[in-house]
């Protein structure tokens, strides 16, 4: 696919303050690109760079293989239309007049708008649902209505590239969807669409490529599936999230857990022994409480493993329905040592996962604290003919603490500094 934009080591500054540093990326022709990132990460600046409104201090930006400064403003306006984040106007132009301004790049000096220009403006107003507003002054519109007027102006410009800086910020959900569907339709007709998104789930829903900015740099750039992982989103946004999948469309969706992520070094660590699905409630609870959780050994594909992956938990894994191997055992032990404390949920034991109990004996020998939830009796979940139960009782003799349920257990753990927030 042809390359529309190539950004080559571009640094953008306002006065002397570096907003974006050493940005390099390529945007293929015909892509639907989302720019995401926390406030102040430089999203709007990148849009301004791509719109040729702000020139990079260092590096360069090529459009269709040509540098911006080789083209006149007018020529650029034939290629790029920009929908600004917000607009202020000191004079009362009507909606129709504003949309018609989108034809400006095609008019010279004293030239009067042709019937084709009027046609293009009318079409743009119909597509954006602003036709009925056409005689109203833009200064008298609501934020959402005005946003659609500026989208109409960009459409009237009829360019192969549209850049939008948070176009849906002021819109109701129905208008958000309308506008984005309209952009998607244009995208299918070959228009390259580049949008700054505030709403991650909308970005996931519409984009074919996502650029994630963080502290003035490109943190990651790739497909929605590549970028939307719990770990990445949590690290960049410093917030506890759960990245699942949209039940209907299947695209990644971010669910907020309503908590800030404390800096990694402040998070107390804890390791959870897993298996089947018995560890799941404990895993989500601990992540929610702000612990840095690891888990193991989990069989790929089981319920605990799915959830742990969703939550971005580090884990020791084993192949589906396979007994725990030496490597997995050692990996598990190393995670336990790193965490310094282990929790044993009420999981069933068979010959395949007996090593998950064995590892605790070894860990306790190293002085690591082990706590167990005993909401169901060990004899009822021992499928090894007594081996598991005897290991279990040995652990209790060695001083494993036991708790009747998860709630009681979590209170006994190393307190999390962030607990007050929840």
């Amino acid at each position: 696919m042809a390359v529309k934009f190539s950004v080559l080591g571009a640094t953008f500054c306002y006065e002397t303050f570096h907003v974006l540093e050493d940005i390099s990326l390529t945007i293929p022709t015909g892509d639907f690109v989302g720019i995401i990132g926390p406030n102040g990460s430089g999203k709007s600046t990148l849009i301004k760079g791509l719109a040729a409104t702000l020139a990079p201090r260092v590096g360069s930006i090529l459009m269709d293989g040509q540098e911006f400064n080789k083209r006149s403003r007018r020529e650029l306006a034939h290629h790029l239309a920009v929908v600004p984040q917000e607009t202020t106007a000191s004079f009362d132009f009507t909606v129709e007049e504003v949309v018609l301004m989108g034809r400006s790049p095609y008019l010279s000096g004293w030239q009067v708008e042709s019937p084709e220009d009027l046609q293009a403006a009318a079409e743009a107003m119909r597509l954006t649902g602003t036709w009925d507003l056409r005689h109203r002054p833009v200064t008298h519109l609501s934020g959402g209505e005005r946003q659609r007027v500026f989208i109409a102006r960009a459409l009237a410009q009829n360019t192969p590239v549209i850049l939008l800086d948070e176009p849906t910020a002021h819109l109701d959900i129905n208008h958000q969807v309308e506008v984005l569907n309209l952009l998607r339709r244009l995208n299918h007709q070959g228009v390259t669409v580049i949008i700054v998104f505030h709403d991650l789930n909308l970005a996931a829903q519409y984009c074919s490529q996502v650029i994630l900015l963080h502290q003035g740099r490109v943190y990651a750039c790739g497909s929605v599936e590549e970028i939307f992982t719990t770990d990445t989103i949590r690290t960049v946004y410093q917030t506890e999230v759960l990245v699942g999948h949209h039940p209907v469309t299947g695209v990644p969706q971010v669910t907020l857990l309503g908590k800030k992520t404390p800096p990694a070094e402040e998070q107390p660590r804890v390791h959870v022994i897993g298996g089947g699905g018995a560890a799941a409630p404990l895993l989500s609870r601990l992540v929610y409480l702000g612990y840095r959780v690891s888990a193991g050994v989990l069989n790929k594909g089981d319920t605990d493993w799915h959830l742990a992956r969703l939550l971005g938990i580090t884990m020791a894994e084993e192949d589906p329905f396979s007994p725990i191997s030496k490597e997995a055992y050692r990996h598990n032990l190393s995670l336990i040592i790193k965490a310094g404390q282990v929790i044993l949920p009420p999981i069933p034991f068979g010959s395949g996962n007996l090593l998950n109990l064995q590892v605790l004996v070894e860990a306790m020998g190293m002085g690591i604290k082990v706590s167990a939830v005993i909401s169901s009796d060990i004899d009822l979940r021992d499928y090894t003919g007594g081996q598991a139960a005897s290991l279990y009782n040995q652990l209790i003799e060695n001083g494993m603490e036991t708790f009747p349920d998860i709630q009681q257990l979590t209170f006994s753990l190393v307190p999390c500094t962030e607990r007050s927030n929840y």
């Binding site: 719109a51 006149s72 403003r73 007018r74 202020t88 000191s90 009362d92 007049e97 008019l107």
Partner: protein, 350 residues
Amino acid sequence: MNGPNWLVKLRLILPASLFCLAVALIAGIALGSVKLAPVTVGKILLTKLPLVGDQLVPHWPHHMETIIWQVRLPRVILATLVGATLAVAGTAFQGLLQNPLADPYTLGVSSGAAAAAAFTIVFGVSRTGAGLLVLPVAAFLGGLGTVILVYRIAISTGRLVIHTLILAGIIVGSFMSALLMFFIALAGDGVHQILAWLMGSLAFRGWGQVWMLVLLLALGLAIILTLSRDLNLLVFGEESAQQLGSNTEHTKKLLLLAATLMTGGAVAAAGTIGFVGLVVPHVMRLLVGPDHRVLVPASAIAGGLFLVLADTAARTVLAPVELPVGVVTATLGAPFFLFILISKRHPARS
């Protein structure tokens, strides 16, 4: 609908406003210490036209012709030109500075010109012969020089930033006002002369001034009308205008040049007449909308019309005493402006 809105409006407004201006001109010529019948005024004016003129048999006393050709006609022409020039400059400044409260004097043209004019009066430049030219030329250069200084300050950051421009204008303007006060303090008997100049007067000072204004108005209108679409785009900010293909640096500089030359010319010809450049663009924007392709020509005609009426009132209301025209523009203009503002804001907007 044939053509875009603004063109439809222009086709309606141009003939209507030109007709009003013509009526005002005839009224301005007819009224005065010697009253003339408007019909006679019309006939006398027509005698100068090449074809129609020969058909008319003069049946009026000769002195009427003298009054019209020597006194009244030059005066109403000067009033029209000064009014149009100030109104167009005001429209351009309001658009350029993206501020409906700007006027031709915002960047210090008036205070610079006034300081220079006061300087020539205080240092006793002769009031006869070539000396008569010294004051207007000094005023013109003073106004121009001030804006050049303001421009140099504003552009020192590398780009012409509108906010810096306004700020620099206010600061340099205050400095020039202080200079003016200083000259007034030194003036002694010259104080009256300075005050009279400050209040503005349309007393005819020769055809040279008229031709200079015609030239500046034509040049200014040509530049501003050519840039009027770019001026529209500026309303949503420079970035937005650039993204629509406008070379904003170029636009701003040319507009500043045109509007400053026009203002300087008007001030040199008639002193610092206030209110026209602020209110006429404002009222016309309420009446014809903000599109500069209609607003600029409409303001030009309305500015001329307004100043002809104001000057006629200045000559006749307290005759034989002549009021300073600046007093009339404000006393006539302020209530009218208020009326338009209130009647336009309340019921009509639905």
